[in-house]
Every structure is written in structure tokens, then in C-alpha cells.
């Protein structure tokens, strides 16, 4: 039986495809009409076990499933959350939390001090402690004790400034009646996790989404949205397209690429916000155990060759700012020492320093040599696949060549970079890290600059891979941990910044601001200052409509981006204003997103013509 005779096949196939694609439903039809908030996230979930999960993405989901004793708002304020109140005694050794009387686990059991005691004892005093205590808390906390049903007490061995942060905001109290029956090291908690937060777990579809439904009995009042769907992506491209298409309402654990801001702003229903509490620091670290990076003046000369503002303008299109040399950035509010700024580019000065050090070009090839004759030729180690790093490194290499230092860019996989930096097998390493004001300041400096983290070359170093060793610094770092008086501690932290800025174990480059975008067409009540997808913001959201919007009391000044940032850039010797179309939100009259530009129409027409031509040829009798 020869059914495929001749001309009918192409037509038949075409019709079948056409019919199939027409009968397939559109996503909107499938979704029931309730207040469903869709949040895009560029990662998977490892588990809902707060002890073992590593992913930022999973962390976001616990934040809605579980409550911590204290919530840290974007400006760094500690808000009692699951705890009604907390107090610290005058010797700074006993911290007492009073739990909310009306707080219940998702399965209806009341949340008691015993649950908190149990959770912290897992970390502090159980068979699992050495595997669960990621924060080194056992060194500082003597015991945890449930005083009565709703009061829990922590006793410290010695004053420890970051204690409140770790106890109150990092460790999630867990229900004892569930976790006492499982192995906390291997418990996945993926099936029906029982939490304390505003949303309950509903469903997890691997690689697609996590669905959370509202907790009707939430002790802080029922949230106004009924459901959160956390949509998982593998590429931020698809995530951004879905946001632009309206398939998701907001995004988390990812930031908007600066180049997309103009495109996003063209849609009046999309708002782009610069988060006030978090940004990412980029820096180049020097191998201090290697000549000539061991010379402070040499590092300073390199600092003078770099034009931090130009990197911000070129690579970030202006969505960032030059980083202060002292590691701690203005982002941290009072912790930042305003007298520590940054070295502006000064090539003459850099050349002078190099000349003074005796690093001059003797053989006339444009590259300086050290007094013993080796060329100043180095590699900048950066992580492959991170375009922003590569581009910044390229610019730095360009400036270094202007003062007679040759720098090659070596992009390697994250594993290779980590290994080589850790073991001291590099010259200059390009690195970055996210910073948040809601995180304890100690987290960013202690391990980064403490000589305990700087073993000799060949052994793996942790965060202090520049191998910075300075007894004065070590002492200051220890001291700030023990000082609970905010004013005194601030003084020490300020001093640390001055030393870092002077010694330059690493040259901070710039802060990349965290841009996030969200849609305003379905929900109102977004709190931009906290971050549109933060817990406070999500709790205040409600469907657009006649309802009254409650405005949260604490409002910090935010920078919603309504206009494309204009930056000046030196191009080929002349300064020019980067002219991208300037569009202000709300007053746009151009084509809405999804409108098809002429080019696409042309491309589609061409495609159809070609297809028709092929079909015509195919249908002709031979």
C-alpha cells in the first residue's frame, strides 16, 4: 500500500500542523482566575532542608515557607518577626526571644519555645552539629534553653556582635514534632514541608515550578494573594522574555541586564527598580606572595591605572558606581567610612611610581622590566562565561598596557579559577560577590582579610586568597566581633577600611547595582524599597481593583528608574554622550511590546515565500 503518492503529502503535513497548533490551548485559559503571583527564578531547587540547601533560589522559597525570629528590612533594621520581642542583657551575654502567642505551624500545631530550642540544639549540641554548624556558632554560644512555652534564651560564651544576626535572621526555627524523627543531614523536606511562614507548600514540579498557597491562619494576617508560583528557568533570556510577555509578574535571585532597561521601560506596565540594599562588588585580587605584587607601591600604581568610572559607563552602561578602596561600600550605610574613597585614574602618577620602583623599560619593547630583568607581564585570571568580568578585564588590560605593563586575560572555568586562586597559582584574579545591607558586616570582612585564612602558597586558601597577612588587621577583626556597642564597633570597622585602602590587597573596582523589574498590570502594593519580591512586599500585594492599599510604615528612599541613564564615555579620544532613546515611563506612545517591527515582517514574508517555493517545486510532477 503506497499511500504517500506525490503531491498530497506536503499539504497534508501542513494542514495537520496548522490544525494542531490552532487547537492547542493558550496558557491563560488553563489558569483559574485567582490572585496568582508568578515569580521567575533562574535556578532549580535543591531541597527544602534549610541546613543543607545551598541555592539562593531555594532560600527565597524558604523565606515564604518559614519565618525567622527576626526579619531584617532593606535598610538594616531588625524587625521582630516570629518573635514578638527580643532583649539582650547588659553584659551582652544573654539574648531572650519572646515568641508570638498566636503562631502556628502549617499543620496546626502551635509554635513553641521548644521548637526553637530543638532547632538550635541540632546545630549546637547534637550528633549532627559538626556537619550543621556552617556558621561556627558553637564557638560563641554556650547553650539555648526554652524558659517557658513561648520564651527562649541564648547564652553566649563571650560577647559576639554577629550573634543576633545568625540566631535571629539566618537559622529558621523548625517544627520539633517533624524534625526530631528525621535525619537532618539527608531529610529533603520536599514532600509537604511544614513551615511557619505566610505561604504553604502546594506542589513542586521539577524544573518547572514551585507552587505555594496562602496560609489562611498566618499570625500576621492573611496575605491578600492566594497563590505564588515560583517559575524556574535555566536561562535568564527566557525569563526576561516571559516577563516582557507578561507570563510572570516579577523576578528574584537575578538582576536585569543594564542593556535591557530601555526595552523594559518601553512597556508602561513594567517598572525597573534599583535595589537599595544589595549590589555586587567586583575586584581584582593580587597574589601578595608573589613578586612584584608583594610591593605595596606596585599595587598602588596598578590602582592608579584603572578608571573605575569608565568601566561602570562602558560595561554597566552606568548602572553601578565606582567602588571605594576600603572594601566596605556606601551601601552599608553607617558602616561605610566616608573618608575612604577611591583612587582616580592617574596614569602619570602610576608611571612615576613605577619609575621610582626601578621598573623601567630597558629594552624598548614598550614593556617595563623589574630591576632583575623580568618583564612586567602578567595574566588576569577571570571566569569564563561571565561576559561582564571578561569585558572589565579587557579594559583593565588596555590601561595597564598604557603604563608599560603587559596583561593577558586568561578565562578559565569557575573550578579552575577557584583552585588556582586558592592555591596561589595566579598573578591577578578577577572576582565578584554580592553584598547586602541585610547581612552582618562581619561576614564580608573577617574571613576575607584574616591571616588565618591565608595558608602558604600551595595550600588551599579560603576567602583570603590574596594571602593578606597583617597582625594589626587580625587584631581589629577579632576586636570588632567582640564589640557590641555600635559606635565603638563602627570605629573599628572604619579603621579596617582605612587599612585595606592603604594596603590594597585587592583593588575594588565597582559596585554593580541590582536592577530588578516587575509588572504593575496585575498587582498593586509593591514595596520597591524592600525589593519587589521581598517578604514585606509580597505580603502587601493585592490584585488591582477597588481595594484600599495599605502602605507599609517604613519607607526608604528608592531609586525607581524612569529614565535611561546617560553616561559620558571617552570614545576614540573624544568625550561623547551615549545617546540611547530617552523614554519616560507612563508617557510612551510608541508601539507596545509585542508589536512586530518591519524587519520581522519582512523576514517572515521571505520565509513564507521560500516555503511556498519549495512546496511548489515539491508538488510539480517530475
Amino acid at each position: 500500500m503506497l499511500w504517500f503518492r506525490g503531491r498530497h503529502i506536503p499539504i497534508a503535513i501542513f494542514i495537520v500542523i496548522l490544525v494542531l497548533s490552532l487547537t492547542l490551548p493558550y496558557s491563560d485559559i488553563l489558569v483559574a482566575q485567582e490572585a496568582v503571583l508568578k515569580i521567575g527564578m533562574p535556578d532549580e531547587i535543591d531541597s527544602f532542608n534549610p541546613f543543607t540547601s545551598l541555592f539562593a533560589a531555594a532560600g527565597y522559597v524558604w523565606g515564604t515557607l518559614y519565618d525567622t525570629l527576626i526579619y531584617i528590612s532593606a535598610n538594616g533594621t531588625y524587625i521582630p518577626w516570629l518573635a514578638e520581642s527580643y532583649s539582650i542583657d547588659e553584659r551582652n551575654l544573654i539574648i531572650t526571644f519572646k515568641l508570638r502567642p498566636n503562631a502556628y505551624w502549617h499543620d496546626g500545631t502551635p509554635i513553641t519555645a521548644e521548637d526553637v530550642e530543638f532547632t538550635f540544639n541540632l546545630v549546637l549540641a547534637s550528633n549532627y552539629s559538626d556537619k550543621l554548624d556552617k556558621w561556627g556558632l558553637r564557638k560563641y554560644i554556650e547553650y539555648v534553653k526554652a524558659v517557658d512555652a513561648k520564651t527562649v534564651e541564648f547564652k553566649l560564651k563571650e560577647p559576639y556582635a554577629p550573634a543576633l544576626f545568625y540566631i535571629g535572621a539566618i537559622i529558621y526555627p523548625l517544627p520539633k514534632h517533624i524534625w526530631s524523627k528525621v535525619d537532618p543531614l539527608t531529610f529533603k523536606n520536599l514532600e509537604n514541608p511544614v513551615g511557619s511562614g505566610p505561604f504553604k507548600f502546594a506542589k513542586y514540579t521539577s524544573g518547572v515550578s514551585i507552587e505555594l498557597v496562602v496560609n489562611d491562619k498566618y499570625y500576621r494576617g492573611r496575605p491578600k494573594i492566594d497563590k505564588i508560583v515560583v517559575v524556574l528557568y535555566k536561562s535568564t533570556d527566557a525569563l526576561m522574555l516571559d516577563l516582557m510577555a507578561g507570563n510572570i509578574d516579577a523576578m528574584t535571585a537575578v538582576t536585569v541586564a543594564p542593556e535591557l532597561v530601555p526595552t523594559l521601560l518601553r512597556d508602561p506596565n513594567i517598572r525597573v527598580v534599583e535595589l537599595t540594599h544589595s549590589a555586587s562588588l567586583r575586584w581584582i585580587g593580587f597574589n601578595l606572595d608573589k613578586y612584584p605584587f608583594s610591593i605595596r607601591e606596585f599595587r598602588e600604581a596598578i590602582a592608579y591605572t584603572v578608571d573605575k568610572q569608565a568601566i561602570v559607563n562602558t560595561v554597566l552602561l552606568g548602572y553601578g558606581y565606582p567602588a571605594a578602596d576600603g572594601w566596605i561600600q556606601p551601601l552599608f550605610g553607617g558602616w561605610y567610612n566616608p573618608s575612604v574613597t577611591y583612587r582616580k585614574q592617574n596614569l602619570t602618577k602610576a608611571k612615576e611610581i613605577l619609575d621610582k620602583l626601578g621598573f623601567v623599560d630597558r629594552d624598548g619593547d614598550g614593556i617595563r622590566e623589574t630591576p632583575n630583568g623580568t618583564k612586567l607581564s602578567f595574566s588576569i585570571l577571570t571566569i569564563s562565561g561571565r561576559a561582564e568580568f571578561e569585558r572589565s578585564a579587557e579594559l583593565i588590560a588596555g590601561w595597564l598596557s598604557k603604563v608599560g605593563i603587559e596583561a593577558k586575560i586568561e578565562a578559565q572555568s569557575l573550578g579552575t579559577v577557584d583552585e588556582r586562586e586558592g592555591r596561589g597559582n595566579f598573578d591577578i584574579g578577577f572576582m565578584g560577590m554580592g553584598m547586602s545591607r541585610t547581612t552582618e558586616i562581619d561576614y564580608y570582612i573577617y574571613e576575607r582579610f584574616h591571616s588565618l585564612q591565608a595558608p602558604p602558597i600551595g595550600e588551599y586558601a579560603g576567602r583570603n586568597w590574596f594571602r593578606y597577612r597583617n597582625p594589626e588587621m587580625d587584631q581589629l577583626l577579632e576586636q570588632q566581633r567582640r564589640t557590641l556597642d555600635p559606635e565603638k564597633r563602627r570605629e573599628i570597622v572604619w579603621k579596617i577600611q582605612e587599612i585595606v585602602a592603604r594596603d590594597l590587597p585587592a583593588l575594588t573596582l565597582y559596585m554593580k547595582t541590582s536592577l530588578v523589574a516587575y509588572r504593575t498590570d496585575k498587582y498593586v502594593g509593591w514595596i520597591e524599597s524592600e525589593g519587589p519580591t521581598s517578604k514585606l512586599s509580597v505580603l502587601s500585594l493585592s490584585l488591582k481593583g477597588p481595594q484600599v492599599v495599605t502602605v507599609v510604615t517604613q519607607i526608604i528612599q528608592t531609586v525607581p528608574i524612569t529614565q535611561i541613564r546617560e553616561v559620558t564615555q571617552v570614545v576614540g579620544g573624544t568625550t561623547m554622550i551615549m545617546t540611547q532613546t530617552q523614554i519616560v515611563t507612563g508617557t510612551v506612545t510608541t508601539a507596545p511590546p509585542g508589536g512586530i517591527p518591519t524587519e520581522t515582517v519582512v523576514a517572515i514574508v521571505v520565509l513564507i515565500v521560500v516555503l511556498v517555493a519549495v512546496a511548489f517545486l515539491a508538488m510539480r510532477r517530475r
Partner: protein
């Protein structure tokens, strides 16, 4: 000599496919050679604001830090041609030598080579290429090396099966009878008969070499500094070119890859038709 010329005339002039393929390759070769003259700017220099849409000054616009995409594109032809030629040639050299030795000598050596080929073909190639590329570090030559490592088994297998039938031929027997050594027979008498087919396959596998290089660059495993078409595509993707409507930035390098690949395949098919006796009568 005359026969080679006749073959060439057939491949390049009489066979229209071969002619078109050759023309495409020559077109890109000329672009690559005269890149300095054709490209309006130095592809490494920042010549305009980032993300400029195409205009009179920048035919394809500028990239994420303000380099001229058209200039990058012109220089990119060099890398694609370089990869397209070197990787298959390298793998063909390894493959041909091993294939001839295995096919002619047989025995344990044959078992060994065939075993190695089997192992190579049973390895999941794409994940392994990713591992190797990540391990060796991103540089153009490393990528060529990786391509050669995964390319030779195909050549070895093909050459070996040719040699198996060639070694029973009368002229080989004759050479053996006159007391010629194995080495001499292999490389003086058998090799010339294998070379045409090898050349056809070099040209044919240039396409996949170009595609794989572009694919690795696209995954971020290529040399980030090199201006290859794959790199341009990756920059476009990382820089959200399509989201911004800068579709020419994505369209052009992809089209060029497809076009050059087509050129190589057309020429390769034309050569193969001529040199592979099995295919001789396939086109009238």
C-alpha cells in the same frame, strides 16, 4: 597529473554544486585575507556607544562595549576558516596514519586501533567535549585539539576499510613480491589511493568543525578574546540583542556559519562523488 586536473575540472567547473561550494569558500577566504581593508574599524577598538542599532556608520551596529560588529564579523571569517581547515586536517593526519597501519598490518595493532576507535565512538561526545574544553581552558588551539581528538576515529575507520580492500589489489601484491617493506608499501603505494577520499572527508567535516567551534563559543567555552562568529553570537545572546530588537547582530553571524558550512559541504559532496567509486553514477 592529468587525471587530477581532469577531476578538478569536473569538481569545480562541470559540477555546479562543487562550483557553488568553491565560490562560497573563496568568497569568505577573500574576506578573511583582505579583512584589514574591508573592515571599517579595528574590531577591538571601542568606536561608538554600546548597543548602537545598525546605522550608516555601523552597518550591523555596535556590541556590548561599543566595538563595531561588522568589523568583528569580517575578522571572524579568519577564525572560522582557520578552524574549518586545521581541525579536520589534524584529525585526518592522525586518523589516516592509524587507519593505514591498522588496515595493512592487521593483528594486534589492528585490534588495538579498532578498540580505541570503538571507545572513542562509545564516549558521549558532546558532554566530553565540554569537559575537555573546560579542562584545557578556552583558547582557539585547545578547541582545535579537542575537535581533532574526537575527529580522528571517523577517519581511521574509513581509511582502514579502504586499506582492507586495497591491500589485496594486484599492484600491492606486486610491490610486495619485489621485496618492498611494509612501510614503503603503506605510504608509497596505498596512501596515494586513500588520499582523495580523505580529502573529500576533510572538506566534509569542516562543516561540523565550524559548527562545534561556534557551539562551544556559544556555551562560553571558547576563547573570549578571539573574534569568532560563535563569540559574536554569544555576545549577542549574553547582551540580549534579540530582546532589544537588534536582530541583525544575531542573524548575520549565524547566517555566515550556515553559508560557509554549506560551501564546505557542497564542495565536499562534489569531491566525494568524483573520488568515491560507489557514488560515481549517482548523478546523471
Amino acid at each position: 597529473m592529468v587525471s587530477i586536473l581532469r577531476d578538478l575540472r569536473y569538481i569545480l567547473i562541470e559540477n555546479r554544486m562543487g562550483l557553488i561550494g568553491f565560490a562560497i569558500i573563496m568568497f569568505f577566504t577573500l574576506i578573511a585575507i583582505f579583512a584589514d581593508i574591508i573592515a571599517p574599524y579595528n574590531p577591538y577598538e571601542l568606536v561608538g556607544p554600546p548597543y548602537t542599532p545598525p546605522n550608516e556608520r555601523f552597518i550591523l551596529g555596535t556590541n556590548d562595549i561599543g566595538q563595531d560588529i561588522f568589523s568583528e564579523f569580517i575578522y571572524g571569517s579568519r577564525i572560522s576558516l582557520y578552524v574549518g581547515f586545521t581541525a579536520p586536517i589534524l584529525s585526518s593526519i592522525i586518523g589516516t596514519i592509524l587507519g593505514i597501519i591498522a588496515g595493512y598490518l592487521g593483528g594486534y595493532i589492528d585490534e588495538l586501533v579498532v578498540g580505541a576507535v570503538d571507545v572513542m565512538l562509545a564516549l558521549p561526545s558532546l558532554p566530553l567535549i565540554i569537559i575537555l574544553a573546560a579542562y584545557l581552558g578556552p583558547s582557539l588551539n585547545n578547541i582545535i585539539l579537542v575537535l581533532a581528538i574526537f575527529g580522528w576515529p571517523g577517519f581511521a575507520r574509513m581509511v582502514r576499510s579502504q586499506v582492507l580492500s586495497l591491500r589485496e589489489r594486484a599492484y600491492v601484491e606486486a610491490a610486495r613480491a619485489t621485496g618492498a617493506g611494509s612501510f614503503r608499501i603503506m605510504f608509497r603505494h596505498i596512501l596515494p589511493h586513500v588520499v582523495p577520499l580523505v580529502i573529500a572527508n576533510i572538506v566534509l567535516s569542516a562543516t561540523s568543525a565550524i559548527l562545534t567551534e561556534a557551539g562551544l563559543s556559544f556555551l562560553g567555552l571558547g576563547d573570549p578574546i578571539a573574534k569568532s562568529w560563535g563569540q559574536i553570537l554569544r555576545r549577542a545572546q549574553v547582551g540580549h540583542a534579540l530582546h532589544q530588537g537588534l536582530w541583525l547582530w544575531v542573524f548575520t553571524p549565524g547566517l555566515a556559519i550556515a553559508l560557509l558550512g554549506t560551501g564546505f559541504t557542497l564542495l565536499g559532496v562534489a569531491i566525494e562523488e568524483k573520488v568515491n567509486p560507489r557514488l560515481k553514477h549517482s548523478r546523471r
